[in-house]
């Protein structure tokens, strides 16, 4: 576990760890699920979950897992000098994509209207541009 040097075995090591982590999370999740079904369940109504916000956070969680897998197979973060003239890794690019998308959606809401599907399209295009050129 301690002396792995080759990229592929390093990748498989990370994937194995991620697998164990996911399994652990799944076990914890099912445990929590049954706990919440029981009578001694804590009251989490104050968190006021909705389906759209749950989908939003699950998407972000999946993106992070995807980034971990990407890192496992191609370690180092892919640093490069983009059009902004400073070094970015792919984590930076994801952050820029998400932050920029938030502002694109806000600008759409403020200037165009509440139809955010088009803003989502613009955001995806923006993210592709960020991942290609920044």
């Amino acid at each position: 576990m301690n002396t792995v040097d080759k990229p592929m075995s390093r990748a498989s090591n990370i994937v194995r760890t991620l697998g164990w982590t996911l399994l652990l999370l799944l076990l914890m999740g099912s445990g929590l699920y049954f706990w919440f079904q029981s009578e001694s369940a804590p009251n989490l109504a104050w968190m006021a979950w909705t389906k759209p916000t749950a989908i939003f956070f699950i998407t972000i969680f999946c993106l992070l897992i995807g980034m971990c897998l990407w890192e496992a197979f191609s370690p180092g973060g892919g640093p490069r000098m983009g059009i902004l003239r400073f070094e970015t890794t792919r984590g930076d690019r994801l952050f820029l994509s998400l932050l920029g998308s938030a502002f694109i959606n806000l600008a759409w809401l403020g200037l165009v209207g509440p139809d955010l599907w088009k803003a989502l399209g613009v955001s995806v295009l923006y993210a592709l541009l960020v991942f290609s050129f920044v």
């Binding site: 090591n13 490069r80 400073f86 932050l99 938030a102 403020g110 509440p114």
Partner: protein, 295 residues
Amino acid sequence: MIDKPFNNKAWLFVLPVFFLVAISAIIPLMTVVNYSIQDTFGNNQYFYVGTEWYTEVLGSSRFHDALGRNLLFSGIILLIEIPLGIFIALSMPRKGFWVPVCLILMALPLLIPWNVVGTIWQVFGRADIGLLGRVLTGLGVDYNYATNWLDAWITIIVMDVWHWTSLVVLLCYSGLVAIPEAYYQAARIDGASKWKVFRYIQLPKMQRVLLIAVLLRFMDSFMIYTEPFVLTGGGPGNSTTFLSIDLVNMAIGQFDLGPAAAMSIIYFLIILLLSWVFYTVMSNFGADAPNKEVG
């Protein structure tokens, strides 16, 4: 490229931080996002309203005004504190007995908690019992920060300058004392004037610390809450209601959780953007040649 031993124990070491951040930041932030798309009348009952609150906040003059006030405040204090800080740092002695005295005097305002600073200036500026208020009234100046918006703004700006110029001074001073004596000797040989020494030696050498000072002061002043809250409570009227004060009024004063949550998210995104700019500028300042070109 990969020659470091890889150790999965790191994941375990990260776990405690992850749990702490989850409880103190991620879960509250998730809750705020949930609140921002719902309406509630209490009793944990929520009604889905979509992006209504965001549209409302983005279009509200109240938010625009608070944001404008905040940007104006940050701009004014930067324009005062940065030149004043440089001037004081240049005037401070570099050697001898007075160095520690000056440094301690400069550090004193930084040690005082924000709410105490607010209280000090609240009492200091009162027209009936405060020293500043009494003196100004005695001089015939019609000064009252509780009723006049201009007086309130001047008091808050002077208070912030008093509280935070020291930070700029200490940063600039650290930049100044790091300049080797050889630079000054070369300047003397060339017969450079004081202004030229400042322009071509001291200012370029202070550039990095000045950048830290500007960004720190900008971000701090953009999040200011305690001092104006204690001093004026956002008044008179709404004249000193900055974003954070407005946010607290909306969330806790009026209990409008939905709009307050939407405003929090927008405010958070602005701060996140500024923090990213801060981090990027700091970590890329004087960065070396590119490792890899896009291609």
